[in-house]
Structures are given as structure tokens and as C-alpha cells.
Amino acid sequence: MSAAPMGVPAGPSTAGPIGEGVLPPFAPDLPYELHPAVEVRPEPFGALLYSFKTRRLSFLKHPDLVTVVRSLGDHPTASAACRAAGITDPARLTMFERALATLAATETIRERHS
């Protein structure tokens, strides 16, 4: 299976990240949320994401990852969101956390402070 998001600068004319500052590293035991500038469009392969902040398109290549990303805000930690979506197998959990780390690095998701 392939759960890794692709930060592909795809589609006719999309921007890469511009002026990216230094972001804190992803930590699975912290609370996260979808970045408010990001829109999610469900697709048969998972979902298409677009950030109005970075003007970057990305793809979530697995429906389970879409579930996790969309429910991050409802769980106390990122790991808890994964577990709630049925990602309990340790190897799979590692893959999902790696995928979330990429999403955090591209400002698709962000740490939640509230």
C-alpha cells in the first residue's frame, strides 16, 4: 500500500513552497489539526489537497490517511487519531506517522494550540 502523501508540485502551474520558515518537527504525541488554509477534496484514490497559503497541491494516496487527517482536530494527539482510524499495526502506524510528518513539514497540518 502507499499511504505517503506526495508533495508533488503538480497540475498545470502550481507553486512550490515559498518562503517556508523553520517549522517545529512533527511529534506524534502532540495535538494536530488540518491547517485552516487547506481544502480537502475526496477522490477515489484518497484526496486532493490544496493550500491557499503555500499554493501547493498535494495528494493523499489512501482513504485511511484522509480519515486521519480530517479527524486530527478531534483527538488529543496525532497518534490517537491514527489509532481511532484503526491504524494499530506498528509498522503501519510508523508509515502513517511518517506521512503526517511530511504533511506537517509542508504546512498541510499544524500543531494545535487550544
Partner: protein
């Protein structure tokens, strides 16, 4: 997991329920008369969509969750309702990226643009010097573009795009383009010249040579992630390494064009009835055209490689650009005219001159505007630096573009 996961590119080849993004040309009116204009723009068409009709299209794009539209023309900013439509789109969560020659980007407009996350600007520039740019875009167009960039940079608009159509005359300016982009904190976007619209008339003279294509490819591999390409150079992937981005023709699958009169074409470079899927004014609107039109359904079926299927590079280039083949008179299931393996040139040599299809719409002005391009006088580098033939570079005098059509 036991379910087979299709590579993303295969999903795209089969089409999505909504386009990833689409090009929307708002008007055929333009203050310039670029020699290579892909949409043969110049005069406004009286049938162009009204403000209310444009807003209805935006409503539909919002419902379909189209994240953003690439607005172009013509020169879109000359439409009196242009800013109203931009505001309407962004208020409805449809981002706007518009292409302009810069004519309306004064200081005030630049400040407005810099303040919005939902609007992006793309300034067209086809030469890193006035000489090379104005040769195809017309006298004064370089100065207009530079003034617009200065205004955007001064307003603090970071990361706007400078969009360059790569030609024989500007391939040796790639580093200079990058320097201009860096100077204005902009991002460089390079795209492929297509023989579409008036581009068909000048393609022979403007399209990069085989050596230049290689030079361009090497440059793109070197500068990769920092330069946008609109994914338009996937035919160059046949050189070896795939370029960053989507190496796939998205026509009718993930992209399309809405033209000023509401006609929906498979891609911006294919304004011809062969690639016309429908009109947004018809019952069911854009959504029905996108999801149900015969043409798009056909494009989303698995494509045969035709004459290219046995080529070792087919998986990389997938036969290249449909529009480039069509308007040079080549069969759609054969090689791209700029096939890096050289098969395009062989195929082109068999095309009867003058037999290639003409665009269905032509809004060129009947007479050249005063600032129109005069493709007569550009001095380019010698053909080869070692070329000692006193006649090297001599070419028969050409008529100015747009005359004698």
C-alpha cells in the same frame, strides 16, 4: 493490504470527477497582438459570457470543489468586471491565478493583490531583454511587464509568477530569466511553445531546435524544484530522468479550458472543434460537460500508443502533446513534432505544407496595432559559433505576423 493501489498517474489518466484546476479565458480582447498567441486573441467576442454568467460558472466550480482557476485571455484585466469576478471567486473559495501582460498592474492594484492569499499573478515575459521579448510580444511590452513586476515587488507581493514561453530566441536567456525572477522575489515558470492559435504561423521559426531542447532539459533538471513548468515539458522526459511534476497530458482528464464564449475545450492549446466538449451555457452547465461529454469520456479511456507504442521512451513521454501534433498536421497516435528521438521531424517531413488544421476561432485584429510585433529584425546568435559561412543566419525576409492571413 491486498487491494491493488493504482499509481496516481493512472487515476489521473482515467479522469477525475472535477478538474484539478482549469484555465478560463475571460475575453478574447487584448491590448497586445503577440505573434505566437495561443488563442489568436485581439478583438472581444460579442458572445462572451456576461458577469452574471461568469458568476454562475464560479458557483458551479465551488460546488465541484475546483480549488483554483487559471484566468487568462486575451488580456483578462481589460474586462471591466475583472476585479468584481476575482473578488466573487475568492469569496466563494475558488482561488484565482491570472495571467497578464501587466498593463493594469499599477501601484494600487499591486497593493490589493499583495494583500490577498487567494489571488496569484502571472506576468508574461518571453524575453529577458526588451529586444527578444518585444520581437514576439510587441513594442513596449517588455517595459510594461517590468513596471508591473516592480509594482508587485514594491507592494510586497512575494512569489508571484513570471511566465515564459520557451523559444529559439530565448533559450539562451534561462539564467537571465531566473535572475529577473530572483530580483523581484518572484517564481519563474517556463512553458512550452505550442503551434496553437497564431503560434501555428510562427512555430517553425520560434520553436526550439533539437539542441536547444536538450539544453532546456538539462537546465530544468538542474533547477528542478525551484522552477515551475505547468508540467508542459513531459515530452522531454524521454531524455531519461522524469522532470518534477506530473508527466502526463491532463487534457480532459484533470484540466480543461473554458473559453470566453463558454466553450469547453480539452486544453488551452486545443481551440479547435475536434477538442470541443460542450458549452457552459448548455443545460447541466460545466459539470455535465466535464463529467459526461463524449469527447472527455473518450479521452479518459486507455489510450493506445499507436506508432509510438513500440518506442523505448513511450512510458516516459506517452507520445507527447496532443495539441502540438494536431496543429502541425501529425496523427494523434504518433510522435510529438518535437519528439526527442527525432521521430517527429521525420513525421513532419511527410506532412503536406498548409494541410494542417487551422484554429476554429480567430479573434486577431484585421490590422496590426501600432505596437504589434514585427518579426523582422531580431539578431540572434550565429547558428554555430564556428560557422564561417558569410551567409549563415540569412533567411528570406518574412512578412510581419498577422498580415496576409
Amino acid at each position: 493490504m491486498t487491494t491493488a493501489v493504482l499509481p496516481l498517474v493512472e487515476h489521473f489518466a482515467l479522469g477525475l470527477d472535477s478538474p484539478i484546476c482549469l484555465t478560463w479565458e475571460l475575453t478574447y480582447a487584448c491590448n497586445l497582438a503577440c505573434a505566437h498567441c495561443l488563442s489568436s486573441s485581439g478583438r472581444r467576442d460579442p458572445r462572451e459570457l456576461s458577469t452574471a454568467e461568469c458568476k454562475a460558472v464560479i458557483d458551479e466550480l465551488e460546488r465541484m470543489q475546483v480549488f483554483y482557476v487559471n484566468i487568462g485571455g486575451g488580456e483578462p484585466t481589460v474586462r471591466p468586471d475583472f476585479w468584481e469576478l476575482v473578488d466573487y471567486a475568492t469569496a466563494h473559495k475558488v482561488g484565482v491565478k491570472f495571467s497578464t501582460n501587466g498593463i493594469k498592474i499599477n501601484q494600487e492594484v499591486a497593493q490589493r493583490l499583495a494583500a490577498s492569499d487567494y489571488v496569484d499573478v502571472q506576468i508574461s515575459l518571453d524575453g529577458a531583454t526588451a529586444e527578444v521579448n518585444d520581437y514576439v510580444r510587441g513594442v513596449g511590452s517588455y517595459a510594461t511587464a517590468i513596471r508591473a513586476m516592480e509594482n508587485l515587488a514594491a507592494a510586497g507581493m512575494v512569489g508571484f509568477k513570471i511566465s515564459v514561453v520557451c523559444t529559439r530566441q530565448n533559450i539562451d536567456q534561462l539564467d537571465a530569466f531566473k535572475a529577473i525572477a530572483d530580483r523581484y522575489s518572484a517564481q519563474l515558470r517556463l512553458t512550452r511553445l505550442r503551434p496553437s492559435g497564431r503560434g501555428a504561423d510562427v512555430w517553425d521559426e520560434l520553436h526550439p531546435t533539437a539542441e536547444q531542447q536538450r539544453e532546456l532539459y538539462n537546465w530544468l533538471v538542474r533547477n528542478g524544484e525551484n522552477v515551475l513548468t505547468g508540467d508542459s515539458f513531459f515530452h522531454l522526459a524521454a531524455y531519461g530522468e522524469a522532470l518534477p511534476g506530473l508527466n502526463l497530458c491532463g487534457a480532459g482528464r484533470v484540466v480543461c479550458l473554458i473559453d470566453p464564449v463558454g466553450d469547453v475545450y480539452a486544453c488551452p492549446f486545443a481551440i479547435h472543434e475536434t477538442f470541443l466538449a460542450g458549452n457552459v451555457r448548455s443545460p447541466g452547465g460545466f459539470k455535465t460537460v466535464w463529467r459526461e461529454s463524449e469527447l472527455f469520456t473518450e479521452l479518459r479511456k486507455p489510450q493506445s500508443g499507436g506508432a509510438c507504442a513500440s518506442c523505448s521512451a513511450f512510458d516516459a513521454c506517452r507520445g507527447g502533446c496532443m495539441a502540438a501534433k494536431f496543429f502541425t498536421g501529425l496523427p494523434l497516435d504518433g510522435p510529438d513534432p518535437e519528439c526527442v528521438k527525432g521521430y517527429g521531424e521525420i513525421a513532419l517531413s511527410k506532412v503536406t505544407p498548409g494541410a494542417s488544421p487551422k484554429p476554429s476561432e480567430d479573434h486577431s485584429r484585421a490590422t496590426q496595432p501600432r505596437n504589434g510585433p514585427v518579426m523582422l529584425t531580431l539578431r540572434t546568435r550565429p547558428d554555430r559559433s564556428c560557422d564561417e559561412n558569410p551567409l549563415a543566419g540569412m533567411a528570406p525576409v518574412r512578412e510581419p505576423a498577422g498580415v496576409g492571413r
